[in-house]
């Protein structure tokens, strides 16, 4: 069968107006159904005719999935809230700025105006072999093209590989980990809440998925607890161009300070593994220090310990090391 990468194949469009209806439809159609949020990940797959769902469940009419509200001292963000709303939200900007800053680094304004938080965290990897429809492990096949000796893997992972060497491309993911966000996933049976860092899974758990969600599941909201409000935050995204591009490496960090001492830290890096990586050992290292230069260097070195480059992405090791250093440096006097 010859191929063409244009024109979305036909599908049945379902536009439920409640979460209950959406879950019911997802349960009914199982693996025939595709969840449509902002569409910026979806339409690439559909226009390339690589994924051809029979049924598309459009969440755009479900108002209970939209909006940002105060909840239990923290902030509850509906999964269909656009990234622009997060960028502009007063309380997020003032108390949890790492999240609004991260959201403001996603792609472009038009994409942020339509892309959702739920979509941004559930998006699929951008490995170009996989995206081109090649039957690799992640696509249900038996090989990884990107880790072949001559493969083009400049943007692939340096840690966490398990047959698959792709990376998680989300900007909001490490920020959510930095503020210890909780991800609420619902299905026909019962909702579950995941710590952000557990929401993203690696290929050793399931090589075909980027998150815990399986067919029938729906991320309905993200809860940001109050404990990291007003922390000292740091976010940086290194990329080739100043717009559109996914990260080469990114870092998001939250520091609770006591005077000039770091009381506690949460640091996450993305673009280096098939999932955003929380650097717990580094967090323990910096706690109780002033984040001075020696600590910065030690933190950076510890962050990349055990990292193993592929042929073309060796630079990610010093890049990741330096971003961790800079995160710590941001709170030093």
């Amino acid at each position: 069968m010859a191929t063409i990468k244009d024109m979305i194949p036909a599908f049945d469009l379902l536009q439920p107006t409640s979460v209950a209806d959406a879950l019911s439809l997802l349960s009914e159609h199982g693996s025939d159904a595709w969840v449509l949020a902002g569409g910026l990940d979806t339409f690439d797959w559909l226009k390339d005719r690589v994924k051809r769902p029979r049924v598309v469940v459009d969440l755009g009419a479900i108002t209970e999935l939209q909006g940002i509200r105060d909840a239990q001292g923290g902030i509850e963000i509906g999964a269909m809230t656009t990234l622009t709303e997060i960028v502009n939200h007063q309380r997020i900007r003032s108390e949890f700025s790492v999240l609004s800053t991260a959201a403001d680094h996603v792609a472009t304004p038009q994409i942020r105006n339509q892309g959702t938080l739920g979509g941004n965290v559930s998006q699929d990897t951008r490995c170009w072999y996989y995206r081109s429809g090649w039957p690799c492990y992640r696509a249900g096949g038996n090989v990884c093209y990107a880790s072949a000796p001559n493969a083009m893997n400049r943007e692939h992972c340096i840690v966490g590989r398990s047959r698959c060497v792709a990376v998680n491309p989300s900007d909001t993911a490490p920020a959510l980990i930095a503020v210890d966000a909780k991800m609420v996933v619902e299905n026909r049976r019962r909702p579950s809440t995941y710590d952000a860092e557990d929401f993203f899974i690696g290929p050793s758990i399931d090589i075909t998925r980027m998150t815990v969600m399986e067919p029938g599941d729906l991320l309905t909201r993200v809860y940001v607890p109050p404990i990291w409000a007003n922390a000292s935050f740091y976010f940086e995204k290194v990329r080739d161009r100043g717009s559109w591009d996914f990260q080469l490496v990114s870092v998001a960090a939250a520091f609770r300070m006591s005077g000039s001492t770091i009381e506690q830290a949460r640091i996450a890096v993305n673009g280096v593994a098939p999932y955003p990586v929380r650097l717990e050992a580094v967090e323990r290292l910096v706690a109780g220090t002033s984040g001075d230069e020696a600590t910065q260097n030690a933190a950076g070195d510890l962050a990349v310990r055990g990292a193993r480059a592929l042929r073309h992405n060796d630079y990610k090791i010093p890049m990741m090391r330096n971003l961790v250093r800079r995160a710590v440096r941001s709170v030093s006097a």
């Binding site: 010859a2 005719r49 072949a148 083009m152 042929r311 992405n313 010093p318 971003l323």
Partner: protein
């Protein structure tokens, strides 16, 4: 007194249409009953189509036609066909499916079963040059019309040099020229800079893909085409379709960019006309961005070696240059131009050039804004800085020393120039940039940021001669200027009429530019390429205006009395000893008199291709029609000197571009604001070459992966310099009336060179000698980590 038109800004006649959505590009046209064509692209880098079973596609309701390679012209030798049964690159079109809508056409393509025989492929020119290395064609890797196919390889000894990092002094080349005595000059030199340099390919990616709409009516073809040129594309299309050009209604009012990929139109513009002729219905061939990545052309990459010899005072006295070019499957001429431009920019006096064009199974290459020149400028300017560092000389001074003066002879035949003010442009740019003060900032460190200063001096062709102008003053008193050049947005369709209108004493609101539709008449024109239209058509229109002026004066003298030479023109009137007449009256008088006045009798010397267009307008007013016979010796070249200050982050490899200061020698400036935009736009394109754009191929499967617009990484608004200042030397070219030269292309080399030199400067003089200088490349260099690929590899990143 009529307005001064030359050297003043104005509102281009097509701008309102562009900003209201009324401007129609090729894909915006519709015809009743229009159907849609989509392409089936090759999945392999080189293969033969043993069989294509299209029966299920044809059986799908709504499918009208499948066109095969056998139904379109198949050229001899390594030339592109619109459809092919032996694809030479992954992505080459094999067949075209036409259906009532695009959904159906796409579904039909998926019903086609292809039986493909894989053939050997090669992606990297050096691979093909290795003894025993693969060839892109079964028949070899060199082709000439005379001798046919042959195989050209370098020797094992040559590759022993290359692999050891030595200059491969003994290589032979299909193209070779020299002047002076390079070996002696190198032996005498006080300093030799010896480098291997790689410049990667980059796709043109104009904003508008090359769609076409076409239909036939009573034997006449109506074609709506995306093309840089107009009259020349029309002639080319008629030729390709083997038809009388006067039976072709060719519409190309707006072109959404080309940068060299749509100069005389493009290969696939004949597909919609061919299909439409076959099925008897209007056909829309909408080209997607994905296809544009393949059939849309790219700049050829270079793998090169150079030895430059310098005297202690900084004069370059020798250049020994070898370029292996990735010519794609169908060839390209960049490498030759690159050598000429190196000779012109540094005037060594002793030069040897060896050029090795190699076919590869990668998408086709074509001239891209400053072809050859942009590459060589970006590649060699850092070496000039290296010499300056070694010899302890000022970086501007060394360039001033080496830049050509008016007596330059460059290239293998020691060509001359009509004018050159490169030194003046460089000095003026340096002054505008305050080089004397700012050069001390080189290498200054502020936290993790290092300052780098970049200088790029670049040149490119900027004119041609011998085309025709055609204009008519009508009884409504207006001047109608017929332009056969294209409209890419450079404003040359109206800029080139401004001096003519000024000569005729007209205010701009009395001038109508007629362009974009061949059925309204197009004189013999240049192609829209090589930055030539500003020069060529200022002259052509000026010649036609002089012809019109002579006739206006003659009519005034005949009608009002007195000597024709005593009459002058201003504000749309002719005035003299016998009184005055309005241009409206002159036009009516011209029609009454007939003969040469109203175009019934045409001058001898105009090009034959202009005659039908002039004849079409005979009897409608006072006609000015003439060939540019102003003559002139030497080539017409323009220059741009660009300075930049960057801030390089040593922890991430990212670069922030703070400043761009540019000064150009382009002769007389006709449209200042447009000139500033050309200098900026080209410089940013050059930045894209230096900083972000390349191809990436999986070498195992021969398949490209940077084949989306975002993975191709053209510069965004976030990547541009924050501050921009520009000026020109404002010295007319003495060999042309008005003295204007073009400018579109030198800016690309200057923008590229200013970045490669700035980054080297920020890194203490270390030149990576590769493009693009992405953050990973810079960081790896700063961290002392080895290159992840071969030093000379192409298509990586």
């Amino acid at each position: 007194m009529a307005d001064k038109l030359v050297g003043t800004d104005y509102s281009a006649p097509d701008l309102r249409a562009k900003i209201t959505g009324r401007a129609r590009y090729a894909e915006d046209f519709r015809a009743p009953g229009m159907v849609f064509t989509k392409l089936l692209l090759s999945p392999m880098p080189h293969c033969r189509v043993r069989n294509a079973d299209v029966s299920r596609a044809l059986a799908l309701p709504g499918v009208i036609d499948v066109m095969r390679a056998s139904e379109v012209p198949q050229p001899e030798g390594p030339s592109e066909a619109v459809l092919t049964d032996e694809p030479k690159y992954e992505g080459e079109p094999i067949l075209a499916v036409t259906a009532v809508d695009e959904e159906t056409a796409a579904a039909a393509i998926e019903l086609i079963e292809l039986d493909l025989e894989p053939l050997p492929f090669v992606l990297d020119p050096l691979q093909s040059l290795r003894p025993g290395g693969p060839n892109a064609y079964l028949d070899g890797n060199q082709f000439s019309g005379q001798d046919g196919w042959s195989e050209f390889k370098w020797t094992a000894e040559d590759f022993a040099d290359i692999d050891a990092g030595r200059f491969p002094a003994n290589v032979t080349a299909p193209v070779e020229w020299s002047k002076g005595d390079v070996d002696a000059a190198l032996a005498d030199a006080d300093l030799i800079i010896d480098e291997a340099i790689v410049h990667q390919s980059a796709t043109h990616h104009p904003m508008e893909p090359r769609s076409t709409m076409a239909y036939w009516e009573n034997g006449r073809l109506h074609a709506f085409v995306s093309t840089q040129s107009a009259q020349r594309t029309k002639m080319g299309m008629a030729g390709a379709l083997d038809m009388d050009p006067e039976q072709l209604s060719f519409v190309a009012e707006f072109c959404g960019g080309g940068f060299g990929s749509k100069i005389p139109g493009h290969a696939h513009m004949t597909l919609a006309p061919l299909i439409s002729r076959k099925i008897g219905r209007p056909v829309m061939h909408r080209v997607t961005r994905y296809e544009e990545n393949y059939i849309g052309r790219a700049r050829p990459g270079f793998q090169s070696w150079v030895r430059m010899g310098f005297r202690a005072d900084g004069k370059c006295t020798a250049i020994d240059l070898i370029i292996a070019q990735d010519s794609g499957p169908y060839g390209a001429g960049d490498f030759n131009t690159a050598a000429n431009i190196a000779d012109l920019t540094y005037t060594p006096g002793n030069m040897r050039f060896r050029g090795v064009p190699m076919y590869t199974n990668t998408p086709p290459k074509a001239a891209q804004r400053g072809p050859g020149g942009a590459q060589i400028n970006g590649m060699l300017e850092p070496l000039i800085d290296k010499a300056a560092r070694e010899l302890n000389l000022d970086r501007v001074a060394i360039r001033l020393l080496n830049a050509p003066g008016p007596d330059v002879g460059f290239g293998p035949r020691n060509g001359t120039l009509t004018s050159v003010f490169a030194k003046e442009a460089l000095q003026k740019a340096a002054d505008m940039f305050d080089w004397e003060t700012r050069r001390t900032r080189s290498g200054q460190r502020n936290g993790s940021k290092v300052t780098g200063l970049g200088i790029g001096l670049s040149t490119y062709t900027a004119g041609s001669r011998g085309f025709d102008g055609l204009m008519v003053i009508r009884p409504d008193g207006k001047l109608y200027v017929y332009q056969g050049i294209g409209n890419l947005g450079t404003h040359s369709i109206s800029d080139t009429a401004r001096p003519a209108a000024e000569l005729l004493g007209l205010n701009w609101d009395q001038v109508e530019i007629v362009w974009g539709d061949s059925s309204r008449g197009m004189p013999n024109s240049s192609v829209q390429a090589g930055s030539q239209t500003t020069h060529a058509h200022t002259r052509a229109n000026y010649a036609a205006a002089e012809d019109a002026l002579r006739k206006i004066r003659a009519i005034a003298a005949r009608t009002l009395g007195g000597n024709a030479n005593a009459y002058r023109v201003d504000n749309g009137r002719v005035m003299g000893p016998g009184g005055s007449m309005t241009y409206a009256q002159v036009a009516e008088r011209a029609i009454a008199l007939g003969g040469e006045f109203d175009g019934h009798v045409l001058p001898e010397g105009i090009n034959a291709a202009t005659v039908p267009s002039a004849t079409m307008h005979a009897g409608t007013g006072l006609m000015g029609v003439a060939r540019d016979n102003y003559g002139g010796e030497g080539s017409i070249y323009s220059w741009l000197a660009a300075f930049t200050e960057i801030s390089l982050d040593v922890e991430t490899g990212e670069v922030e571009v703070i400043d761009l200061v540019a000064c150009t020698d382009c002769g007389t400036v006709i449209h200042p604001r447009s000139l500033g935009a050309q200098c900026f736009g080209g410089s940013v394109q050059g930045m894209g070459l230096a900083m972000s754009q390349r191809w990436v191929f999986d070498p195992q499967y021969g398949v490209p992966f940077a084949n989306r617009l975002y993975t191709a990484r053209p510069p965004t608004i976030k990547d541009i310099p924050t501050n921009y200042t520009w000026d020109a030397v404002h010295i007319p070219d003495p060999t042309s009336p008005i003295g204007a030269k073009g400018i579109g292309e030198p800016s690309v080399g200057a923008g590229s060179a200013m970045m490669t030199t700035a980054i080297a400067d920020a890194m203490g003089g270390r030149c990576l000698c590769r493009t693009p200088l992405t953050p990973d490349m810079i960081l790896a260099e700063l961290e002392g980590r080895p290159l992840p690929f071969g030093r000379l590899d192409q298509h990586v990143g």
